[in-house]
């Protein structure tokens, strides 16, 4: 997704203003004029100046659409697969303890392969073997306590 430089500049200015506002509220160190807000104040100002330069250049180049999606995003199946990859990961993270890596990971991978057009049973096997191998490697060999969910 390409954002118009005018809007991008505005976003940086707003971010910079928020950083400056927050940094100004941090207390100074006792007996010093500086404190935890000094450094954030520096890059907050840089956000505002940089945002103004980008925004000005964007406006000078002419007003177009505020955001444009490139060719790949116009394919519904691809956009859906990307959406599932991101949201699926977030959902898996939130319910990681309850679902576990073996079930959650396998479901996410199989769903992605289906959406990407790899629908033969071979890709289901690939997903299951991969999840099993990663679980074995991390949980059994490296002793990472990966949640198993309702399985074990």
């Amino acid at each position: 997704m390409r954002i118009h430089d005018g809007l991008l500049g505005l976003l940086f200015i707003v971010l910079g203003a928020c950083v400056i506002w927050q940094a100004a509220s941090f207390p100074s160190m006792p007996g010093q004029a500086i404190g935890p807000g000094t450094f954030p104040l520096v890059f907050g100002v840089m956000f505002v100046i940089g945002g103004a330069i980008i925004g000005r250049a964007g406006l000078a180049a002419g007003m177009g659409r505020l955001a444009t999606f490139n060719e790949g995003w116009r394919h519904r199946d691809r956009a859906l697969a990307a959406f599932v990859a991101v949201i699926g990961t977030l959902v898996l993270a939130i319910f990681f303890e309850q679902v576990g890596f073996l079930i959650g990971g396998a479901v996410l991978l199989i769903a992605l392969y289906m959406l990407l057009g790899h629908r033969s049973p071979r890709w289901i096997v690939v997903s299951l073997v991969f999840v099993g191998a990663v679980y074995y490697g991390m949980a059994k060999l490296l002793l990472v306590p990966l949640p198993t969910g309702p399985l074990f």
């Binding site: 954030p40 940089g50 790949g72 990307a82 990961t89 303890e97 990663v134």
Partner: protein, 500 residues
């Protein structure tokens, strides 16, 4: 010498050798699959290295990245798609050599020049790093502040694309680095009441997000075209005319190795910038500049040596000052801290054995590149048929587990995916992510030294220039900032003089 002898058992330990071998093969695979970057693979390796001793952990990253940078030449030669950005400078020459039936010679040159460049860079690292460390023992917060700022400035100025957008990327990295308890006062910043953020944004999940997630999204959305790859059936093809060509361009090989190492040492500039600059230098000083881009070997020799020597050179500032030379060393610095090998001059005294062992691993990795590289070239054709789209779900699966394993926390998975989405958006809008990563790694270092120096100097900015080395570094940093502006104004005034 005692340290070198003591380091030998650490390097030639069966487990370390097994890790080096496995990571060499992984690196060759990553490099050979177009679009998968060495940096992404490094970020993915970090969670596994957390469970290893320091030498195999750093050895894994060193070997994998060296192999990946070389192996990226294979798809460049056979299907005209650079495996990583480090091969992009000479894509035309290498592919056109292949079209003329000289793919073997092109790839033979790549493997030998990569190994020679890598060995040269390692020798410089072994000799220069301890010397520099001795000098830097006298450094105070003023010198460290300027060094860190010089590194960040170089990363912004030398990177590709708009300088202003690079500065914005750097600021985003600094913002993320400042989340959590402030180092000097203990005051919580940008945490919004979230206890999990008090210790800051976890570094490794953020790195995996920065480098892996954008590649996953691109692989899903943009899809890669399957190219029919040429293949090399006989090993002897790699050596047809190789010795003659290397002898003809021996000075180029030396120049590429030296320039590559120097560019690598420069904070912020990595293998890809080294390859581009040396290719341009090679063309400028060539007797046949018109042949560049038509399948000519000269630029290939220069840049082939440069991209691997830069990889070793980048470890000089990383080991001596804790300032990354490129994105890969930015990750390595994080790993060094976790392993208790805190980068800085004292690491050469307190952990001399481990440091020598790491140097040996560098040498071993570059020497292994020749036999394993030849094997990879011969077996490349089936690897080139692997679709990046088919690998994307597997990379995502590994990214999830890798992020979780760092803190055993689901927050890490959330950080990884959120940072990754932002990184994808940044790259789509021509905002490079490398300055953000450098900002994330170096933010604390810059701030700590800035605040300490301000307190020492009673808020007087002139004290930043009072010590001789600090003064020189300060002037160099300011020159880097203002030189482009002054040159622009000078050229403009000259042009207006000529017109009038």
């Amino acid at each position: 010498m005692d340290n070198v002898i003591a380091a030998l058992p650490l390097v030639f330990d069966p487990f370390t050798l097994m890790v080096i071998m496995a990571c060499a093969l992984f690196g060759l695979f990553i490099g050979a699959v177009p679009g998968l970057s060495a940096t992404m693979a490094t970020a993915m390796l970090v969670p596994i290295t957390f469970y290893m001793a320091p030498v195999p952990a750093i050895g894994a990253i060193v070997t994998m990245s060296a192999m990946a940078i070389f192996a990226s030449d294979i798809p460049t030669a056979l299907i005209r798609i650079p495996g990583t950005a480090a091969s992009a400078a000479y894509v035309d020459d290498l592919y056109k050599l292949s079209q003329r039936g000289k793919a073997g010679l092109g790839l033979g040159l790549c493997v030998i020049t990569s190994a020679i460049g890598g060995v040269f860079g390692t020798l410089v690292l072994m000799i220069a790093a301890p010397q520099l460390a001795e000098v830097s023992l006298n450094f105070t917060s003023f010198e460290y502040f300027w060094l860190a700022l010089l590194g960040l400035s170089a990363a912004v100025m030398l990177g590709t694309g708009s300088v202003v957008k690079s500065v914005m990327s750097l600021c985003l990295g600094l913002l993320v680095a400042s989340v959590g308890l402030d180092g000097s006062s203990g005051f919580p910043r940008f945490t919004y009441g979230q206890e999990s953020l008090l210790s800051g944004v976890s570094f490794v999940p953020a790195l995996i997000g920065f480098f892996a997630v954008p590649e996953i999204i691109r692989a899903i959305v943009h899809r890669d075209k399957q190219e029919e790859a040429k293949s090399i059936s006989r090993i002897s093809e790699l050596f047809d005319g190789l010795g003659k060509t290397l002898w003809k361009f021996r000075l180029n090989l030396a120049r590429g190795s030296v320039l590559g190492t120097l560019i690598g040492i420069l904070p912020g500039a990595g293998s890809d910038i080294a390859a581009w600059i040396t290719y341009a230098v090679s063309k400028k000083f060539s007797k046949n500049p018109e042949k560049f881009g038509t399948g000519y070997e000269e630029g290939l020799v220069d840049s082939g040596a440069a991209n691997n020597s830069a990889l070793s050179g980048a470890y000089v500032p990383a080991m001596v000052f804790g300032i990354p030379g490129d994105s890969i060393t930015a990750i390595v610095i994080g790993v060094l801290y976790v392993k208790g090998l805190n980068p800085g001059p004292m690491v050469f005294i307190n952990n001399a054995v481990e440091v020598n062992a790491i140097f040996m691993v560098f040498m071993l990795a570059n020497l292994l590149m020749v036999p394993l590289g030849i094997l990879a070239i011969v077996l490349a054709a089936p690897v080139l048929k692997i679709s990046k789209t088919a690998l994307a779900p597997l990379i995502l699966g590994f990214a999830i587990v890798g992020s979780f394993s760092i803190d055993i926390s689901i927050t890490s998975i959330i950080i990884m995916i959120v940072v990754g989405c932002f990184a994808y958006l940044m790259e789509e809008n021509d905002i490079p992510v490398a300055p953000a990563v450098l900002g994330l790694v170096m933010g604390t270092l810059v701030e700590r030294n800035l605040i300490t120096s301000l307190i020492k100097g009673d808020n007087n900015p002139l004290v930043f220039f009072e010590r001789p080395i600090a003064g020189v570094l300060g002037v160099m940093t300011l020159a880097l900032w203002f030189a482009p502006l002054i040159i622009k104004i000078y050229r403009k005034s000259r042009r207006s003089e000529v017109t009038s």
